[in-house]
C-alpha cells in the first residue's frame, strides 16, 4: 500500500454483502475522487489477512452463519483491532454493526463480538423492516439519518458509546435510538448502501481520515431529492 492515497478496506465481501453493501465503498471512493483525493480500495476476503494500516474500514450486513464466521475470523486475525488502535475509521452496517459489539445472537446462539463498540445485541420479537429515520447526535453536526432497515436484532448501547441517532421513524436499536458511535467508529441498522442517502456521513469519514476541516462541496442535488422523498416516506417511530 502506498502512503499518499486514502486507503479504504471493505471487510469480507464474501461473507458480509447481503444487499448493496458495495455501494458504501463505491460512494466513498467517488466522493474522494471528485475532490481530487487519491483513493486505493481493497476488498479483503475472509481467507486473507486483514491489513492494519488502512484509513477507513467498511463492514456490511449478512446472514447469521456468515456473521458468526466473520466475527470468529476477525477476532483470530486481530488486524482490525490494530487498525482501530492506530486511529482508523470504521463504518459498520447491520450484522457488521452487531459484531463490533461485545456479543450478538446468530442462529439462536450467543456469539462473542469484537468488543470495539460498547454495545450488545439480542433478538427482538419481530423483524424490523422498513424506512428508518433519525436525528443524528448533534455532536456530529450531521443532517437527519435516512435508511432502510431489515433486521431481527435489538441493540443496547453501553456507557462507552453513544447512540448514532434518536429514532423519528422505524425501529433502529429499540424504537428509541438507532446505531452507535464512539471515537471514529460508526454503526447503523440503516442497511446496505447507507451512504447513498447519507452523503454527509461519507464526508465525515473522509474528514476524519484526511484531517481536513471541510471538504469542497459536490453537486448533491439528486441525493437531496432522494433524501426529501425518503424522509417524508418514513412513518413515525414506535417503541418496541
Amino acid at each position: 500500500m502506498s502512503t499518499e492515497a486514502l486507503r479504504i478496506v471493505w471487510i469480507y465481501p464474501d461473507l458480509l454483502s447481503t444487499y448493496g453493501d458495495r455501494g458504501n465503498l463505491l460512494i466513498l471512493a467517488r466522493r474522494a475522487a471528485d475532490r481530487g483525493i487519491p483513493v486505493e480500495t481493497y476488498e479483503i476476503r475472509s481467507d486473507q489477512r486483514m491489513p492494519n494500516g488502512a484509513d477507513i474500514y467498511l463492514i456490511g450486513g449478512g446472514e447469521d452463519g456468515p456473521q458468526a464466521l466473520a466475527a470468529q475470523r476477525l477476532l483470530a486475525d486481530g488486524g482490525l483491532h490494530q487498525a482501530v488502535a492506530r486511529g482508523a475509521s470504521v463504518l459498520s452496517i447491520c450484522a457488521g454493526y452487531q459484531l463490533l459489539g461485545h456479543s450478538f445472537y446468530a442462529k439462536g446462539a450467543k456469539c462473542a463480538g469484537l468488543g470495539l463498540l460498547d454495545i450488545s445485541s439480542d433478538r427482538g420479537e419481530t423483524r424490523a423492516v422498513g424506512e428508518l429515520r433519525g436525528d443524528i447526535d448533534p455532536r456530529l453536526g450531521l443532517p437527519p439519518l435516512t435508511g432502510f432497515e431489515n433486521h431481527g436484532g435489538r441493540t443496547h448501547v453501553g456507557q462507552h458509546a453513544a447512540p448514532l441517532a434518536r429514532v423519528t421513524g422505524g425501529i433502529g436499536n429499540d424504537g428509541q435510538t438507532e446505531g452507535a458511535w464512539a471515537g471514529k467508529i460508526l454503526g447503523t441498522y440503516s442497511h446496505g448502501p447507507a451512504l447513498a442517502r447519507n452523503p454527509a456521513i461519507a464526508d465525515l469519514l473522509l474528514r476524519w481520515s484526511t484531517g481536513a476541516d471541510r471538504l469542497a462541496p459536490l453537486d448533491d442535488s439528486w441525493t437531496e431529492q432522494l433524501r426529501n422523498e425518503r424522509l417524508t416516506a418514513a412513518s413515525p417511530a414506535r417503541p418496541v
Binding site: 444487499y19 456468515p66 432502510f148 446496505g192 447513498a196 432522494l226
Partner: protein, 430 residues
C-alpha cells in the same frame, strides 16, 4: 390487494375429501373449477387483469384440495429458481407440447392460486408445466406430485420479505430428500442449487453458466470458501463440487447427453435464453422428447407475458425487458442493443420495498448509450447512476421518454410493477 391476501389465506388442507376422488373429480372440485373459470373470465372481461390469479383464489376457497384434484392424472413438471422461471416454463411447455396438450401458467402467476387457475382453464391435459415461486415449491410438490422438478438458480431477490439464499437452499434440500421419486433437473453451475439437488437420488445436471456469483462464495455445506476456475467450482473444505453436466450450452447451441450438438435458434435475445432453452430440452428429455423434435417449437416462442415483446409506436421500436434483481439486470444488459434505453424502477409490494440492490448492479455497460430514467424510485436510480458515472435524463412518464428518443429502437428495462405499468401503456402487450 389480492396479492397479499392469497399469500396469507391459501393453505392446503389435506385429506378433507380423501376417498371421494377415485379417478373422477369430486363434485366440490367440479363446482370449484367451474366457479374458478367464471371468475377468471369475468376478471379478463372487466379488464382487471389476465385472470391468472383471481380464479384460482376463489376455486381454492371453495375446495382447498382443488390443485391436487386438478393435477391428478397429469404428468407434471415444475420449474423453480430465482430467475428465468417464466421463460423456461414457457419454453418447456413448448417442448413437452411435442407429446400432447400442456397446461401451463405462462403469465408468471407462480403461486398455488396461479397453478389452480392454469389447470382449471386448460381442462384435462395429459401434461402440465408449472412455474413455481421458490418459497412454494414444497407445497406445490405435495399437491401436484410432479414427475420432474427443474431447479434453475438461487440468488438474492427481495430480501425484505424473501427467505435468505442459504435458507431457501436448505428448504429445497429438505423437500427433495422427502421425495426420492421425483426426477430433478438442476443447474450444475450454481453451488446452492447443486447442494439442494444433491438430496435427490435422480438428478440430471445441466450447465447454462452462472453470471451472478456473489451469493455462492461460501459453501452451504461446510462454510468454507468456494473456488472457481475454468468453468469448474469446488469447495475448499468438503467434497461438494460441480457435478459433470449431461446438458451443456456451447456457442449458440446445446450438447445433449449423447454428445450431439444442436443449434438453438430462438427469437428471444441473449445467451441467457440459450441456457433457458437447454434447461427446457433437459426437462422435456425426461418425458422422452428428443431435442430435434423440440427445437422448432422453441424457435416459435416470441415473447412471454410481455417480456422481450417488441411494439412499434410513433416510429419507435420498443422492446421490453424485465429485470427483477441483480442477476437479471446483468442478463438484461447482455440482451439489450446499444440503443437509447429507458430504465424504470418501482419499489411496491411485488418488487420488494428495498432498493439497495441497485448497488449490486454495475450500470457501466450503459455509458455508451443515451439513458432515460423514470418510475416511483427514479431518484434512487439517479443517485446510483451518478456514482456509476452513467449520464442520464429523468422523465416523468413513458410518453415523455418516447418523445425524447429518435425514431428507431428504444430498449426498456424495468422491474416488476414498473414493467407492468409500461405494458399497460402498450395495451397489455403479450
Amino acid at each position: 390487494m389480492i396479492l397479499t391476501v392469497w399469500q396469507r389465506d391459501v393453505t392446503f388442507a389435506s385429506g378433507t375429501l380423501a376417498g371421494v376422488t377415485d379417478g373422477k373429480m369430486p363434485l366440490i372440485a367440479k363446482v370449484a373449477t367451474s366457479v374458478s373459470k367464471t371468475a377468471a373470465a369475468l376478471s379478463r372481461a372487466a379488464g382487471r387483469g389476465d385472470g391468472s390469479v383471481i380464479g384460482g383464489w376463489i376455486g381454492l376457497k371453495i375446495d382447498p384440495d382443488l390443485l391436487a384434484h386438478l393435477a391428478s392424472g397429469r404428468a407434471v413438471a415444475l420449474v423453480s429458481g430465482t430467475n428465468g422461471k417464466t421463460t423456461t416454463t414457457r419454453l418447456t411447455a413448448a417442448a413437452v407440447g411435442v407429446l400432447g396438450r400442456v397446461a401451463t401458467n405462462s403469465f408468471g402467476a407462480n403461486m398455488p392460486t396461479g397453478h389452480t387457475s392454469a389447470l382449471a382453464r386448460e381442462g384435462h391435459t395429459p401434461f402440465a408445466v408449472l412455474e413455481v415461486d421458490e418459497h412454494y415449491l414444497a407445497q406445490v410438490i405435495d399437491a401436484t406430485r410432479p414427475k420432474v422438478v427443474a431447479l434453475l438458480n438461487l440468488s438474492r431477490d427481495q430480501l425484505d420479505r424473501a427467505k435468505e439464499v442459504a435458507m431457501m437452499a436448505q428448504l429445497w434440500k429438505t423437500t427433495l430428500a422427502g421425495h426420492p421419486e421425483i426426477k430433478v433437473v438442476a443447474n450444475a453451475d450454481d453451488p446452492m442449487v447443486v447442494w439442494a439437488a444433491s438430496a435427490s437420488p435422480q438428478t440430471t445436471w445441466f450447465s447454462a453458466g452462472q453470471r451472478w456469483l456473489d451469493d455462492s462464495f461460501v459453501c452451504p455445506e461446510s462454510g468454507h470458501p468456494i473456488e472457481r476456475a475454468q468453468g469448474e467450482w469446488w469447495c475448499t473444505g468438503c467434497p461438494l463440487r460441480r457435478p459433470r453436466p449431461q446438458w451443456v450450452v456451447e456457442d449458440e447451441g446445446v450438447i445433449d447427453p449423447r454428445g450431439d450438438w444442436h443449434l438453438v435458434k430462438l427469437q428471444l435475445p441473449g445467451k441467457v435464453n440459450i441456457g433457458n432453452a437447454a434447461t427446457a430440452l433437459a426437462v422435456a428429455g425426461e418425458f422422452g422428447v428428443r431435442p430435434i423434435e423440440a427445437l422448432p417449437r422453441l424457435a416459435r416462442v416470441a415473447s412471454i407475458a410481455g417480456r422481450y415483446a417488441q411494439v412499434d409506436k410513433d416510429g419507435r421500436n420498443i422492446r421490453l425487458l424485465l429485470a427483477k434483481n441483480p442477476a437479471s439486470w446483468l442478463e438484461a444488459f447482455d440482451m439489450a442493443d446499444q440503443a437509447p434505453t429507458l430504465l424504470s424502477i418501482n419499489a411496491r409490494d411485488p418488487d420488494g420495498l428495498d432498493t439497495s440492490w441497485l448497488y449490486d448492479v454495475d450500470f457501466s455497460p450503459l455509458r455508451d448509450r443515451p439513458v432515460l430514467i423514470t418510475g416511483d424510485r427514479a431518484y434512487d436510480l439517479a443517485v446510483r447512476l451518478q456514482v456509476n458515472q452513467v449520464p442520464f435524463r429523468h422523465v416523468q412518464s413513458f410518453d415523455e421518454a418516447l418523445a425524447a428518443v429518435p425514431p428507431g429502437r428504444l430498449e426498456v428495462i424495468a422491474n416488476y410493477t414498473a414493467f407492468q405499468d409500461i405494458r399497460a401503456e402498450l395495451d397489455r402487450v403479450n
